[in-house]
Subunit: 323 residues, 2 copies
Amino acid sequence: MGHVIARSPAELLEHAREGSRAALARLITYVEGSGAQHLETAALVYAQSAPYVIGLTGAPGAGKSTLTDQLITIALAHGSFDGDNPFVRVAVLCVDPSSPFSGGALLGDRFRMQDHATDERVYIRSMATRGHLGGLSLAVPDAVRVLSAVGFELVIIETVGVGQMEVDVASTADTTVVVLNPGWGDAVQAEKAGILEVADVFVINKADRPGTPETRRDLERMMDMGPMTTWRPPIVETVASDGRGVGDLWRALSDHHRFLAGGEREQRRRRRAAHELDRVLSAMLSEKVRTGEGANRYEEQLDALTAGTTDPYRAARALLFEA
Amino acid sequence: MGHVIARSPAELLEHAREGSRAALARLITYVEGSGAQHLETAALVYAQSAPYVIGLTGAPGAGKSTLTDQLITIALAHGSFDGDNPFVRVAVLCVDPSSPFSGGALLGDRFRMQDHATDERVYIRSMATRGHLGGLSLAVPDAVRVLSAVGFELVIIETVGVGQMEVDVASTADTTVVVLNPGWGDAVQAEKAGILEVADVFVINKADRPGTPETRRDLERMMDMGPMTTWRPPIVETVASDGRGVGDLWRALSDHHRFLAGGEREQRRRRRAAHELDRVLSAMLSEKVRTGEGANRYEEQLDALTAGTTDPYRAARALLFEA
């Protein structure tokens, strides 16, 4: 703890492995940012045995934080899903891209840190974008690898909503949990495309409220209408505020963990690597064409587009292939 | 009408300008697809005086189709916003990326076509992706330019929801209308980041139902908490089924049109051109690195990533700069 004197990612990693939270925090700040320290950290932590990553997504107020707290408690008590590691360290990354006017994640953290702050097996962190190439959705997998390098076996990523950002973050997770509340009706309808795409497990939290059977029925119908898959997401009812159903959620997570272990996990990780590589590629390209000597040519093409003397495909080809 | 014998985009454009709906439909099918005909069409229609584009987005069932029908009727009666063109032709593009299990847009169209099918000033079309480079969100601006080249002065784009896809489509619009219903509560909360980003005008449709004042208050509060802007989106209450409030919506659209005419429109169009160019660039790059001679190198890097012997940034640099 205390002051961080070492500045190089390698030194920080050493300190973090010895238990320094300040060093760990600095490393994650590095991967949130851009430039040499980010790239050095990313290279340092890449070759890690990957931790198990659970994604939790849902609307603000759906109960994600309370569920996460309950899951932390169970994980610390149970150990790893496959039972070969009774001592598990758990990290939570809170990602809220709407933060300009919410600020909720941070307040929530402070409140929750009180529960687990003294427990060295738990680390909770809000993530923000600080100029990372490609933004927060690329900083998150980097942060997961930092946590893995420091010895966290289980990482829970909390995101808000099901926009593209959240879908990208979900693609970092092995198991994605979509948290709803009873009586969502229209909202479920509105977001069903995104939800179906990412959900491995559905949770209806606050299931002591009216509308729970209807929400379950809507979800079942939605899955019936969707494409056939080898894994049909189970629907778990919870009341996170008093812990009801959280054991069922843990069992659903274990079931999905076992399902993935049957070969699916490696395929997913390859797809995930491809998805991440594609996003890094396009972020890097976009940086390349807009900075340094590329900047003038980019502005020229943009002028021509605005004036209507070229079309976007000709302009893009000129920038890509006529270097 | 009748059979389309001409196949080249230039011939089709000529026929479409003379009033052939079949030729127009073929051109839009070209821009939905990939390959030479798409690129030829895009190059042909790029340098058009841009039509005025209104984006309408909201959950399924919010009433977008009914509102659009009402807006068509008003537009045909009023002429252009600035009054210099009493005869306006209106096109509607319906975009529903969740179509695998909705199919709603198509049914809706058939129903609506009956209203306007005999009116040569109106053209309604559902869009699908047929392999267009970069998907539907890049096909839409191409289709808008086709419609402009054929003489449509007003284009209304209907999209479902506020995910990244819809934000991309909204960036094609001059004025984006977000349609909500009373009593959205949680849903507004869930989507507020996306909504604030795209909305120029809010509509609370079905405003004869309970919860309208609360929804208005939520929206006002949301805007109060958001960043200061030179245009504060007005909130219009409508009952589209009987036409109530649709005149107010038209006036809100006119106000925004006038606001944009004060210089903002050109800035927006430049931002839009940049946004489109960036998406074309990254789609083209992704195609380049994955096809032809690039395919093997891409697979090699992906293998190395999966094996943990490289990191995404090194892999991307190898693919981009070591050709």
